[in-house]
Symmetry: C2
Subunit: 241 residues, 2 copies
Amino acid sequence: MSGADLADALGPGTAALHRTTTAEQVAETLRRRITDGALPPGTRLREEAVTTALGVSRNTVREAFRLLAHQRLVGHALHRGVHVRTVSAGDVRELFATRRLVQPLGVEAALRDAELRERLRAQVMAARAAASAGDWTAVGTANMAFHLVMVSGCGSVHVTEMFEQLIAELRLAFLQMPDERALHEPYVAANDQLVELLDAGRRTAAITALTGYLDASERQLLAVLDHAPPPRPAPPRPAPP
Amino acid sequence: MSGADLADALGPGTAALHRTTTAEQVAETLRRRITDGALPPGTRLREEAVTTALGVSRNTVREAFRLLAHQRLVGHALHRGVHVRTVSAGDVRELFATRRLVQPLGVEAALRDAELRERLRAQVMAARAAASAGDWTAVGTANMAFHLVMVSGCGSVHVTEMFEQLIAELRLAFLQMPDERALHEPYVAANDQLVELLDAGRRTAAITALTGYLDASERQLLAVLDHAPPPRPAPPRPAPP
DNA sequence: GAGTACGGATTGTTGAACAATCCGACAAGG
DNA sequence: CCTTGTCGGATTGTTCAACAATCCGTACTC
């Protein structure tokens, strides 16, 4: 078997077995802790704390911080360290302005591509399953996946990547909300209905429905964030001796 | 004057005076060298070389590399170092697929916003000036700025940032082309004509013109890149003693 | 000529050190 | 009371030196 054939047989992804730097691994664990909610927005991340907690060197932790900052999961201030980002009302407005611009492109793709609509239905099913299990965080994840699948259908890796990042930011906003159920449950049926409109080829109705959902979701977030202005990032210091 | 008033008067941006880490400065100088063409695509960047050339530590250089990798100006392979990215024909197709999706959003914005059209005209003037000076690189820069201004008009920082990165990537592709003049000169008049269509409110004609320009530009790039397959990144080693 | 082992070169990671900066506290002054 | 200046601990920014892991060209074997 030639080398090329072997590579074909193994397929992509096999090559990248453990091919990650430790900095990336550190970033990955921190990312999970953040999206879990274990490290809520505003939490300060001291280099030394992460160093001792994960048993890696400080330089590696700093590289991991860079990676997370690049994904906007943490903010970085010179000589002031990194902290889990808090999403402001203004940020939410930016996020939804972008969604209103970009997501119609996904609608166009879904109108053309039946196989894409099939994958959308799969996400609706996943959301429904999570909802009947009462796992509202999973419902939110499935709902976001629904929109991501739709946007990725437009066939631009750049747009898809941007939207992935946007969703990560949005998830941070979700973490700052009190009632997860009210935040995610309504959109399971909404997404289902959207797929039906897409299947029926009702372009205008689909766009209208989508923007309606976006408006509603934005309102929900702003209702909380506008009345709870930027919480001072004031983590308590250890008591002096 | 109250504290709040003072903050208003100073405004945002004043706080960030010289607040940059040295890693960011290193990244900035490398970025300039790359977009200048001083470091052509494919050039390998050894850590030690940059360390001694710029007089900073290796860790700092590595942080700078991360920043550049994040902007896709350099590629990073594990244990294989960093090299200035070479843009393949496939990459160009991706870039233009995205442009065809996103730039119509900018057209809509320009149709609505007269002040935006004014800024577009300014970019056309700049391109014209550079053209009469024979500075084709500057013409290319102004042309790219034209499109960036248009896209930024749609009011999404996410989309604008994505497009900025896209343009940086496109500039890398330009560096791999032989005839800069043929690459940039035609689009000065084209952009001028596009602004006229926008001023006249001829939406459909503007979109058609824009996509036509995109098609032409993509063809030019692919004509070269398709016939000059990925140059093996094989920088000569220093002769062994 | 295909496959394989060696060795230099480069990157990945660590640990310690020092300078620069931030932050809170405390005192002085209006 | 509020503002202003100063001090000291804590944290970050940066450098340096070292070692392990990996890549790559070369030479060697068959």
